[in-house]
C-alpha cells in the first residue's frame, strides 16, 4: 500500500509542488514564447508529454542497464540522454509535419527547441538523482510535463483575456507575460512544504 502512496506523492510533487516551470524554473524558453494562443500551447504540451515519457523510459533503461553497471555514467550520461531526446524530437517533427501541418507551422522554432528543452533533460536527471525505480520514473516522466501543461494553459488563458484589456504601451507583448509568470511563480511558492 505504501508503494502506491509513494507513487501518488511523486506524481503530486512533480505536477504541483515542484512544478518544473514555476518552482524549478526550467523550460521557460517555449513556455513564454508559445502561450500567446491556446491551440499551439496544447499542441506543444502533447508533444512535450510524448517526448518526455518515451525519453524517460528509454533513458532509465540505458542508465540502469548500461551506464551504471559499466561505471561510465559520469562520462556518457548527458550525451546518451540528449541523443535519445533529440531523436524523439526528430520523430515528432516528421510526424507533425505530415499529420497536422498547421500545428507544425504554429510551433515554428519551438519544436526543435524542445530537444534541449530544460524540462525533458531535467526529468531524466531528476529520475537519476532521486534513484527512482522504473515505475517511479515513469510516473515522474508523466507528472512533470503535466505540471508544465498546467502552467502553460494558465498563462495562455490569462494572456488571451489580456488581449482585450488595455495594457500600458511599455508592457505590450512579451513583457507582460514575464510579469504574469513572476506573479504565478509567487502563487505557486505557497504550495511549498505540502509534502513532508
Amino acid at each position: 500500500m505504501s508503494y502506491l502512496v509513494n507513487l501518488a506523492k511523486i506524481f503530486v510533487s512533480s505536477t504541483i509542488i515542484n512544478n518544473i516551470v514555476l518552482i524549478q524554473f526550467l523550460a521557460l524558453c517555449s513556455y513564454v514564447g508559445l502561450t500567446d494562443n491556446l491551440s499551439s500551447t496544447l499542441g506543444m504540451s502533447y508533444a512535450v508529454i510524448f517526448v518526455t515519457v518515451s525519453s524517460g523510459i528509454l533513458a532509465w533503461t540505458i542508465d540502469h542497464w548500461i551506464l551504471i553497471p559499466t561505471g561510465l555514467q559520469p562520462a556518457l550520461q548527458i550525451t546518451a540522454f540528449i541523443l535519445v531526446i533529440g531523436s524523439f524530437v526528430g520523430l515528432v517533427e516528421m510526424y507533425l509535419k505530415k499529420a497536422s501541418p498547421n500545428l507544425y507551422k504554429a510551433m515554428g522554432i519551438y519544436l526543435p527547441l524542445i530537444a534541449t528543452n530544460c524540462l525533458i533533460l531535467g526529468v531524466t536527471f531528476i529520475n537519476s538523482i532521486h534513484n527512482y525505480d522504473f515505475i517511479e520514473s515513469v510516473v515522474s516522466s508523466f507528472g512533470v510535463p503535466l505540471g508544465y501543461m498546467l502552467a502553460m494553459v494558465m498563462l495562455a488563458g490569462i494572456r488571451e483575456r489580456l488581449r482585450n484589456s488595455e495594457i500600458p504601451q511599455f508592457f505590450k507583448g512579451k513583457a507582460i507575460a514575464f510579469m504574469i509568470t513572476g506573479i504565478l511563480a509567487l502563487a505557486f511558492l505557497g504550495f511549498a512544504g505540502m509534502i513532508k
Binding site: T79, Y95, K105, G108
Partner: protein, 98 residues
Amino acid sequence: MRDIIISVLTIGGFGAIFGLLLGVFNEKFKVEEDPLFKAIYEVLPHGECGACGFPGCHPCAQAIAEGTVPLTACVVGGDEVAQKIKKILAQQKAMSMN
C-alpha cells in the same frame, strides 16, 4: 580500452538505431514541400526572432507563400529581403503563366 568499446557501441548503437527509425519515419511521412515556400524560406534571415508575429521563419515563409501576409512581413530582413521575395514571386508567376 574496455570503456571505449562499450561507449562506442552504446552511443553509436543508439545513434544508428535512431538513424534507422528517423529514416523510416521520413519515408513514411514524406511531405512534398511546395517549391515556392522553400525558395522564400531560403531567403529569410533565419533569425527566428518572431518580430513578424510568427514563432520562427518556417511559419512566416509559409504565410508569405500563401499570400496571407505582405511580402514585407519580415521586419528584420527589411527591404533587402522583400526585394528578393518579390523577384521569387515574379518568377513563379511568369512560370505559371506560360
